[in-house]
Symmetry: C2
Subunit: 721 residues, 2 copies
Amino acid sequence: MEKMTGRLTLPTDVDMVKETLEMKERLGADALRDCDGTTMPEELLDTGAKVYATYYTTRKDNEWAMKNPEEIQQEYLISDRVTARGTTLRIELMKGFHTEQLKVNTLDDPKRWWEVMDRTTQQVVPVDKWFFDETTGEVEIETIPYHQYTVSFLAFLIWDPVHMYNFITNDWKDAPHQLTFDVRQPKTQVYVKEKLKRWCEENPNVDVVRFTTFFHQFTLTFDDQKREKYVEWFGYSASVSPYILEQFEKWAGYPFRPEYIVDQGYHNSCFRVPSKEFRDYMEFQQIEVCKLAKEMVDIVHSYGKEAMMFLGDHWIGTEPFGKHFKEIGLDSVVGSVGDGVTMRMISDIKGVKYTEGRLLPYFFPDVFTEGGDPIGEAQDNWMKARRAILRSPLDRIGYGGYIKLAIEWPGFIEEIEHVVGEFRDIIAAMDGTNSYVAPFKVAVLNCFGPLRGWMSNQVHHAIYHREIYSYVGVLECLSGMPLDVVFLDFDDIRNGIDPDIKVIINSGDAYTAWSGGQNWTDEKVQTQIRRFVDNGGGFIGVGEPTACQFGGRYFQLSDVLGVDREMGFSLSTDKYNKLADNYREHFILEDIEGAIDFGQGKSRIYAQGTGYQILDQDGEYSRLVVNEYGKGRSVYFTGLPYSPQNCRVLLRAIFYAAHQEDEMKKYYVTNVDTEVAAFEKAGRAAVINNSKEAKVTELYVNGEKKYSLNMKPMEMCWVEL
Amino acid sequence: MEKMTGRLTLPTDVDMVKETLEMKERLGADALRDCDGTTMPEELLDTGAKVYATYYTTRKDNEWAMKNPEEIQQEYLISDRVTARGTTLRIELMKGFHTEQLKVNTLDDPKRWWEVMDRTTQQVVPVDKWFFDETTGEVEIETIPYHQYTVSFLAFLIWDPVHMYNFITNDWKDAPHQLTFDVRQPKTQVYVKEKLKRWCEENPNVDVVRFTTFFHQFTLTFDDQKREKYVEWFGYSASVSPYILEQFEKWAGYPFRPEYIVDQGYHNSCFRVPSKEFRDYMEFQQIEVCKLAKEMVDIVHSYGKEAMMFLGDHWIGTEPFGKHFKEIGLDSVVGSVGDGVTMRMISDIKGVKYTEGRLLPYFFPDVFTEGGDPIGEAQDNWMKARRAILRSPLDRIGYGGYIKLAIEWPGFIEEIEHVVGEFRDIIAAMDGTNSYVAPFKVAVLNCFGPLRGWMSNQVHHAIYHREIYSYVGVLECLSGMPLDVVFLDFDDIRNGIDPDIKVIINSGDAYTAWSGGQNWTDEKVQTQIRRFVDNGGGFIGVGEPTACQFGGRYFQLSDVLGVDREMGFSLSTDKYNKLADNYREHFILEDIEGAIDFGQGKSRIYAQGTGYQILDQDGEYSRLVVNEYGKGRSVYFTGLPYSPQNCRVLLRAIFYAAHQEDEMKKYYVTNVDTEVAAFEKAGRAAVINNSKEAKVTELYVNGEKKYSLNMKPMEMCWVEL
């Protein structure tokens, strides 16, 4: 077979011209890029490869920022929470923040834009009961003794958070701190647009303008020791300014309050069930940001260049699954592939011509160093990405960082040569078609629905947290499954469930946006889902699904789930739970050997009702329970971290819940460490080994054994169907 | 030293006359008793020993019960919770109950006394939208599809729950089921009083009438397979009847609702924060029950006999720490000593002439059998009871069951001879005085305060539950400490904290009555405790103290505690928690070796604020944290099961929190498996070894080493001070 080329972007640097050309040739790259810290050499502007250029709209122009201090970006901060011991209290606003990053906004009237809160009563302290002492940076408050107080206030972002992060991480010494400016402000908007035009004119050889990103950075603040203080990849706290908020007031028709942003100090973490006001604010920002981003993209297009958006950094308001994203008119989105979930976050984007994934590792000195394992990281990353790409392909892949490091690491280029080859094989096999998916939709239900599709239960891009990995695992498993996965919010439930949906998944901690909190006490939500399951639908709950203590139940759909959680109130009620007879022969566990990993699964789950079967227990409590409910079924897991075995467990649970056990065997591999993706139109199937050990697996098609495969570690095999 | 006698009650039986007399002599018993299933032989009525007779007011008279069916005891039941699939639903009331125990009350008007609830909305279904079909025992309801419904209804207790329990447990075959009757009803009240008088006349040799107990059984129902269905040792659900509830309405001034009793199906489990209405109902019942109990006691006294109450069974309304208990005029209370906590529940009772504890094991065939270990049980029981008796003595001890079984078990009588001897030694050493206690009070704070003193976090008498042992451990540790322990409810906090209190303990799961739930959002509660600690008080939290999600915090007193719990909303906030330097040298851990057992301690506890020191961690989270708050201190534990080591940890935590580290060393033993109780007036101290191994320990008095003791397993040594 002729060697395929293309679909690959490589980084380069000024002193790497010859090496870049060699790599371009060897790996068949068709695009070259600069990165943060590297520069595109003049010699490579005309190699036939596309040239990408990173473009920053909001920084790298301290002169402008310093001349227009009132148009520097702003962020709502909340002071420390301080307990009054007497009738007055002084709160030092910047305590615990880094004063090189943030500076109190003294230009706009504090009485208009700040808020002092009595957190003991959650009441606003009237403005005549406090004042700002600019000389000390403190707010003095008339207080009730032993109540707690906070001050919500505006601060200027005098050091771009990402630049600050890079500066600290790379221990830069003399780089000047890059100030920010807010492209939404009137003077800056005009200036930035003109500047982009100029830049396009001055860079005729650049084919792709890669925006990093548009206007508002996700929330990222540092503490007084320059350590990360708060990070929310989806956070809107740094997208504010009086100028914007006055527009918001007009649009929303009610006065803005700082509390809508600081949210008791939680800053609208996406684990919070979003308030109506915050939802309004998100909507407003998405409309406005997309409108302005479109103007930037139009400029790029007017110079015959492509516009690409980086998924991250200043991406607030441009969430790719948001309602307004398509209106920007981007040609492409590029993002970092941390795992299968973040891969899907890119490859599932609609409304662009192509998507591109940056595979790991970045060619950075932290990995390419003694004790580092760049090859192992590349393998782990590719195994997770590959299974997801087989279901929803990227159009392109690429790498970032210092190409010098990659070239010099023995065996690394061979490794990525292999990855790139497998990627091209997949694209070729698909031949413009998709791999087989089951003939029904699987819906993930939470408070955000599609807006934060493939983003549930996450804090920051693919970062492990002990509290979330048992939920993120569900998405990671789903990312590589032969399923049409959609995301619903509770209004989608209220308005009537799409009849193509056969299984609904609700996964998360009680009272979080991922589980749903108070939404579960809404009789409309309850009755819609009960009807759905009663009529044959499937419901899968993980952790604390449908949880909200009310009316005698903690899990509001305990009748559907067949389980509830013991919160102490029903200790007096005897339970008599025991494992189902022959539980190991249940469809869900048919080919599962050994213990199931429930991760940090929730404790104290008990089965109740008349339709349940317990398939796994922890003492007298349960970890895996199935329930018959009318014509439908539910499956409950205490938690489900990612592993090849758990992929199989969840796959079986979904087809079981959907009453489609036979359909699961349409294309089926026996070994749980392997998976199959069938490209029916192409008449081929890929079988992948998701482990680092050799495996034997058998491929069944429509119940007939077609192949027995001896698979090498991590191997992908192609077979004819 | 002359052998001491007295203070001991033994059981007897008709065929055990000679053996009883031998045991009476050998053990120095001064009272004999009959039991459930045994009979006092005529020959023993005049041995010089006091004669106790069990007396049942509410059963053992089926003739009366059958003649007066409307005065049989009643209970509020709640049906299964059933989901409507259409617009009508029939709920079978007795489904899941045992029809030999309970029978639907069809004598009183269902429309007046029952309640059909839509549990999806928590709204009452109007009475014209349902009817009771007596022929099928079902209620038919006009329903909203996919809402859930329950029926709260009255049932007659046609089999006494304790009799039923004994019947099932002992596998009796032909004993007739004992019906109940309600002594509060007019006809029965007259009848029972007359019967008691007659009985007193007919039993001139009985010295002590031991009531088992008065009128209302704690909640205990059985399911259709004769298994326990619901048990709450403190439950009021079986204390109802239309007759009583009409009185309640007059007393309370508002209409009664079944929901006040069935409480969403939780039946006012004492883990529930009690509603105002349930508190009213408890108060009303206590007034009425104590008033009527007094009449019974007066009758007993009029015949020159003593009146003794058994702590348990039909004890609803007579809770010994309740406000009205003393008015009954009892001579004594006897109860089963399950551990140190239940011992204190008896020995701390005021308003009686003496208290008596039934030690374990009961002489029953379940323990005195092959594979049983009655000697081991007696030792474990005594080790827990002994350390508590040293702080708050019983006046008497005793045993129950079949004396034949005890006599025939090799070595058992020697064992209890030893126990009885140690008990008498303690009483003699005390010489009517109390052992040393620290010069401050320690308060346990929950929603029930003194009413349920020594009863927190329990479901049923000393029964282990995985969910509670990490809290019950706190009380068990306290039961044997040299401390004046008091119990407070939240009104006691609101009304001003007793200045003698130096340490407040709050221990339990969030939203339970033991933690306090919504009380913690009351600014009065918050400010009182903050002021208390700020001025030098100590606060100890275990599990989820002060927990109630509100205003940006889960632990409302997170500032006092120095910790909060991660509920998902603050995952974006970085924590940087790490162990304190030299944490093992902290006062609380000074003599603690090896790992601390936190039991089922709560996860995800992080420290915050400026005053904390972390003394134990689980990964990045904390398990033991101390915090400085103004002049005061707090200590937080994720959980604290009972163990000798944890007794020491808690003792140290209390003296640390109280700023009384030196006072702790007034009487101090070095080995954590040992404890000391000092009887200052008697000039003696008891040192006890709480383990089953030999231990070496040193006794310090006021910082001076006085003795080095080689202690045998479980030994108690007396030393001169």
